[in-house]
Symmetry: C2
Subunit: 387 residues, 2 copies
């Protein structure tokens, strides 16, 4: 059973490192956001995982931080987080916006007065800019009109780029569970099942083996919808001799994983099989290119050039990697415009997607960047499986 | 197997009704938002359910609407939605903010020019205000500085208050699946299992019986954490003679459900059992109070007065009802400040929560408001279950 987890002290160390970054960036404080489906920033600092409501952590450049939660989450946050300071704010209520008559809430003015070293601030960094609730932004503008609000994801996110040994253990466990779930699907899948029933098998196995949730919205697609880069499973039925795309990911103590492969029940038509085979070759090609010190942008350019040299560029949408950690997709991205070098203990999802007009396929496995190569987080299903 | 669904025409009818509201409110258009975990507004209008990325529907006061999606969702949205018009916008990318080199995107200026009756607007209503991505707000302010942006949830949400027969069928099916999942949990739960393993049983059953997802983050709590109003299951072990709180909800074609009850393996201590029993009495009391034409605020005041008259007010956090539909919690709320009357075919979750310092319990069942009473969406587990 899973007991892989992040020790309390590691959260406090993260907060200290973040405060160093805040000082270097010249902010007086940062406000770090999370939502139910995008919980990573707040969970990384507090272990708190909001549900229904949104949440934030207010981190001053010096001194104690505070966890900000919605009207219903105070007791839950006290049980779950590593924080002693918790404030309840109407801005973090759920999207159905209850009025909560009779409840008392802290304002941003109150929070600044109580938790800023000098009781006031000039420059406030906003982390999780894309998921900051609009009511939070409006209240900040109204209550603290003199405070400069600055997007500050770059002040925080690099803390999450290189994983600690405890983080890597959570990820190893998550990938191991994902592989077990894939194995069970391969044993139990039958023509006539719906895509969603296959997802039910995966969900059962994820929780059975110690996962805490899905690591991302799980994929099982059969036929035409395999050509969607992202999608949702439906009541569409599994049929023989067709690409069945599986992307199954467990989450362990906040850390996500995903194992992706195209399978079939009975042989695929030649045209489809040859793109599946080429995809697997491309997948191995990417893994060979990875290692500490390699410039991320070069990998993408080399990969794209290699795909082109093989005549498959018309089937390419994107790839070949993105970071994985608390979110199944997180920064840093690996794009042709990326200008950083891979570092030891960064974790990437090798994500090899090719599509034609009527189908597609995706090979996905995780790796930990090491000197001269990688440690594979999953490798059992880097092969063509025909049931 | 589930084939309960919303016909395509019903989506177009919703759009037409919404346009009438937009005209009445004096807006030139509305921009309606959704995220992965808060998908209801966009799904209600389009059947599209975003994953990873955010999404919106731009609805002009007259003429054709357009679905706005992120960089990776174009093909998925074309397959899944009832919309012919789809535009790809960088503002709806996932929170990890890929740069997407080489991709072309529409701007808000483009969208207004193409889909507004006169190619320009003065007043834009924002729906899903609490989940509108900040990058969307910033782009609107920058690209359309002369346009007045106004929170417009009230222009849209009432469309979702009274459910159609198709919507009610989806909800009946969702509750039926939830009851089947609860039944299986009662048959399989054992001391020593973790809360999360119990959730795995529920997930398996939800997908097996035709659900498309969980209707909300599922609850199984044993012991102290039952006193959290909202929470997340953990690796905490199930033990005998303790309150085990289950809240299990399936989702069918976008419609949520939840069946909640406290169970135990072996008898509960007297103090806990008596609060469980009182909770069930309160739950029945609420259901008796419901019916078309009853003022919502009065129900809350009468409920609170009744709880007080019985001497249990110190165990009361909130209640006794909230609306349920596409989201497990949606508007209208039933609070003491509510000033509307219940209408036929509104759907409420009767949500009876009491807590003491070391435990809590929640009875939850759904009802459809009818003349003179309700149709129960679930009723099998309105009884004390001691395994």
């Amino acid at each position: 059973m899973n007991t892989t987890t992040i020790p309390k002290q590691e959260f406090y160390d993260r907060l200290k490192k973040f405060q160093v970054n805040i000082q270097k960036a010249g902010f007086d404080a940062c406000l770090v956001h999370a939502s139910e489906s995008d919980m990573a920033n707040v969970r990384y600092l507090s272990e708190y995982w909001p549900t229904f409501e949104a949440s934030a952590v207010f981190v001053p450049a010096e001194g104690e931080s505070v966890l900000l939660v919605g009207p219903e989450s105070e007791i839950y946050a006290a049980h779950r987080s590593v924080f002693a300071n918790i404030e309840k704010m109407i801005e973090y209520r759920e999207s159905a916006e209850p009025e909560c008559p009779g409840m008392a809430f802290a304002s941003f003015t109150d929070v600044m007065a109580k938790y800023s070293p000098e009781g006031r601030i000039n420059k406030l960094g906003i982390v999780g800019w894309a998921i900051t609730p609009l009511p939070v932004y409006m209240s900040l503008k109204e209550q603290l009109p003199e405070v400069e609000l600055i997007k500050a994801d770059i002040t925080f996110l690099p803390l999450r780029f290189v994983k600690s040994e405890n983080e890597l253990d959570c990820m190893r466990k998550a990938y191991a569970i994902s592989e077990l779930a894939v194995e069970t699907i391969i044993n139990e899948i039958k023509p006539g099942m719906t895509e969603l029933q296959v997802i039910g098998i995966a969900q059962r196995e994820i929780y059975k083996h110690g996962g805490e949730y899905e690591g991302h919205s799980l994929y099982c697609f059969c036929g035409a919808s395999t050509n969607n880069a992202i999608s949702r499973p439906t009541h569409n039925k599994i049929v023989k001799n067709e690409v069945i795309q599986l992307n199954i990911g467990a989450r362990v103590s906040g850390y996500s994983s995903s194992v992706g492969l195209p399978i079939s029940i009975g042989p695929l038509p030649e045209r489809k099989r040859s793109l599946v085979d080429f995809g697997l070759e491309a997948h191995f090609k990417t893994i060979e290119m990875l290692g500490a010190g390699i410039p991320a942008g070069e990998i993408v350019k080399d990969y794209e050039a290699w795909v082109k040299s093989r005549g498959f560029e018309k089937y390419l949408l994107y790839g070949p990697c993105h970071s994985i950690g608390m979110m199944e997709v997180e920064q840093p991205w690996m794009e042709s415009t990326s200008n950083y070098d891979l570092q030891k203990n960064m974790t990437f999802q090798v994500d090899t997607f090719f599509y034609d007009h009527d189908f597609g396929l995706r090979w996905e496995n995780g790796v930990i960047i090491k000197e001269g190569g990688v440690e594979k987080l999953s490798s059992k299903y880097m092969k063509v499986i025909e049931i």
